[in-house]
């Protein structure tokens, strides 16, 4: 699949934003962070800003952004529609929760319960985003249960890393934030490894023989394309990435998204401010780059069955 930057930035930025919101909500509910208005202001600005940036960037690839509101209508069948509804609804409890934190000076009790609602709504939104891809039967690399868990794990990982960095900045360091990071990181790494093994190893159900119905004649191969220039379908769905290139990018994703943040967060746990703060910020930055590479690969390595009509043997 063609890796479109608007979608890559949308899913990674909003994922980190929802992860950070969920961290704020749960940590407040469990009394792990005081309602410091400045911490709240910066954290909510970052979370809601990333989400809004992601939503806006996702409308860039629309042919008619001014009609985007119509996408709320088909939530009964469409995960894209459900995502729009969930993303919008999440702003309501998130706005209230942020208001309570910053202006009422409360984030426990009833406000803490609201924080849990925010976390649940954020998780639901990320789940809908992942299902847009996971529900497509046309792309074997996406149509798998790992995909939703991976999106959720990486949202928590990037969100908790940002939370950890802000906690250092405002002096609210708690051992629980690195704990969440390490759990999300280990789970995310395990999922990603399984994901790569899955897309490398399983047999494709669809082949050029099933796509043409010509299996009875023997092996089938494309002789002539229908057009001389690439058409829309080839541009959108025909993206191919070289094996060597993908291997290299997988390695970058592994280091930036998992290895470097793990090392930095562990170092930061026992460190003073002057070491802990830069470690936490660098860990968050590293993972943010890493997740963009991971998402780029998620698209670039995904093979659409329509490629069977344009020369692929199996998909």
């Amino acid at each position: 699949m063609h890796p479109a930057y608007s979608v890559i930035f949308f899913t990674t930025a909003s994922g980190a934003g929802y992860g950070l919101l969920a961290m704020l909500g749960t940590f407040a509910a469990f009394g792990l962070v005081p309602p410091d208005p400045w911490f709240g202001a910066v954290a909510f600005a970052l979370a809601l800003g990333a989400i809004a940036f992601g939503l806006v960037s996702s409308t860039f690839h629309l042919g008619h952004p001014e009609r985007a509101w119509r996408a709320y209508s088909q939530w009964r069948t469409s995960w894209l529609s459900r995502e729009g509804v969930a993303a919008t609804l999440t702003f309501v409890p998130a706005g209230l929760f942020a208001f309570g934190w910053m202006f009422v000076g409360e984030n426990g009790g009833i406000w803490g319960a609201l924080g849990l609602v925010v976390a649940a709504a954020a998780a639901a939104t990320v789940y809908c985003t992942a299902m847009i891809y996971a529900a497509l039967k046309t792309i074997r690399a996406w149509n798998h249960g790992i995909v939703t868990r991976l999106y959720l794990a990486l949202a928590v990982l990037t969100g908790s890393l940002w939370y950890n960095a802000l906690a250092w900045l405002f002096g609210h360091v708690s051992p629980f934030a690195p704990l969440v990071v390490i759990i999300a990181l280990s789970y995310g790494f395990w999922l990603k490894r399984r994901y790569w093994m899955y897309i490398d190893g399983t047999h494709a159900a669809s082949t050029v023989a099933t796509a043409t119905g010509l299996a009875g004649l023997g092996p089938v191969r494309l002789l002539d394309a229908p057009n001389t220039q690439e058409n829309f379908v080839q541009e959108e769905m025909g993206y191919r990435i070289a094996r060597a290139h993908a291997t290299k990018l997988r390695r970058y994703a592994f280091f930036l998204l998992f290895a470097i943040p793990a090392a930095l967060v562990l170092i930061g746990m026992e460190a003073s401010l002057w070491l802990g703060l830069p470690c936490a910020v660098l860990a968050a930055l590293s993972a943010s780059f890493g997740v963009v590479i991971e998402r780029w690969l998620f698209f670039a390595e995904a093979k659409h069955v329509v490629t069977l009509y344009y020369g692929a043997d199996a998909a």
Binding site: M1, H61, L62, G63, H64, P65, R67, A68, R70, A71, Y72, S73, Q74, R76, T77, S78, W79, L80, S81, G84, I132, A135, L136, K137, T138, I139, A205, S206, V208, T210, A211, T212, G213, L214, G216, L217, G218, P219, V220, R221, L222, L223, D224, A225, P226, N227, T228, Q229, E230, N231, F232, V233, E236, M237, H304, V305, V306, Y309, Y310
Partner: protein, 246 residues
Amino acid sequence: MTALPPPGGRKLGLVIDLDTCVGCHACAVNCKEWNTGGHAAPLPDHDPYGAGATGVWFNRVHTFEAGEGAAARTVHFPRSCLHCETPDCVRVCPTGASYKRAEDGIVLVNEDLCIGCKLCSWACPYGAREYDHDAGVMKKCTLCIDRIYNENLEEIDRVPACVATCPASARHFGDLGDPDSAVSRLVAARGGVALMPELGYAPVNRYLPPRPRRDTPGCTGAPAALPEAASGGGRFLRWIDAMLSR
């Protein structure tokens, strides 16, 4: 509405005979010609006379080779929307622009609702949807709804443009939901197949596989070879023959 209509009823679609298709691309060209003035008009072209010509087409003819060695054969393969019974292209649409008609099963896009998110084209296994970059909306085969019900046309012309124009009669149009229709009987007689049935989209269109290859000619009543030319003729004729063949 992206909810699919209940199954049953009419299923209008195409039956494409891969045995007789000669790969002339006439169906694709007539489709483009009709539809650039029809329901989904226009079908844009970019750089149409240049080296990088691209554009929206609802029907494209691929050419495959099947089999090996001397038994290998060329199969021309026209590909367009299969008007699937359970198509995800419709279910994924967030706006309700994509829909499947209950009365005849035709899958259409309402261009006034489409936001151009392109998700439907990702959900189609058959590459049937092409995005119109100029209008910012998705376009696809309409099974020529503006021909098949068009009372201004002679009855014989009320078939999709691709069917009307095929010089080899390789394309057939009809109701595949009716087991007694001409197209259903043709599919039954020739063992018509659905494409990528494993994905569960239940395409309506059927493809008739090429007939088995014949290596011996059928009997037409004519002798298998011309009789040997007489080699007699006397010295004079042989002399002339020798002179002329110098």
